[in-house]
Symmetry: C2
Subunit: 147 residues, 2 copies
């Protein structure tokens, strides 16, 4: 099948597929006479695996590790379990951080009840002299921001 068909089946984007090939997540497929990429069922499975991992918010580096194990059926999967545990830890931590943030934001929001002059706005004032929130300050996060 051609790249567009693969993309449609997996629910991915052709650009993403080419990107995965470029960085070695997907192997280089065969080419047709007209130089089109030609994919097989194996490619579908692998891409589905990758996209599922991505939907679980794993990085491509983490996925690379999982693919190694997938490609080596006789190897010991202990590291897979470990990787997943770590990932769960990151997600849990990120949830905690965001919930603190949410609390903080609600508190901030209560500083201004109605639309008024900016100079009287409690929100702008609070941001102005407020402390930088400890939890997020200078923290190199594994789990990214809210945007």
């Amino acid at each position: 099948m051609k790249i567009g068909e693969l993309a449609a089946i997996v629910g991915s984007d052709v650009d993403t597929i080419r990107y995965y090939e470029k960085i070695g997540i997907l192997p280089k497929p065969a080419r047709t006479q007209g130089n089109y990429r030609h994919y097989s069922v194996q490619h579908v499975d692998r891409l589905k695996f990758v996209r599922h991992c991505r939907s679980l918010d794993m990085t491509l580096d983490e996925i690379r590790v999982l693919l190694q194990f997938r490609d080596a059926p006789e190897s010991n999967c202990g590291e897979v379990n470990h990787l997943l545990d770590e990932h769960i830890g990151h997600v849990t931590a990120r949830i905690a951080t965001l919930m603190e943030l949410e609390k903080e934001l609600h508190k901030l929001r209560r500083q201004c009840r109605k639309a008024q002059k900016a100079k009287d706005c409690g929100i702008l004032a609070a941001i102005g002299h407020g402390e930088t929130h400890q939890g997020s300050k200078n923290v190199k996060r594994h789990i990214a921001g809210t945007h």
Copy 2:
């Protein structure tokens, strides 16, 4: 004060300060004879404001809007309130997504109890034929991933 001092006071990085200047978040400061940036208390306040907003996970574009209101004390702050409400909405939504993800990951984790051969690993198997998680599939997120 020089850039390093400003950075130390605010708890920021000199590179970040120069970056903010470049993209217009901070105004260009005066220069000393030796071409060093020279900052005043106003710069400290403004940078603190910006860093506080960033610690609340706002984008620089959102911060740009807030700065506009900060710079126009007579303007109506309704949009500030609105911006904050929207931001809170994003955070809340992201928390919900991550909690679903966490559940999904725990479920996946239970598929493999002990280190064994990769070909027998329930996790690898589950990722392989599992459905891509709806919630995260093809969703252009305002609130970013876990990394």
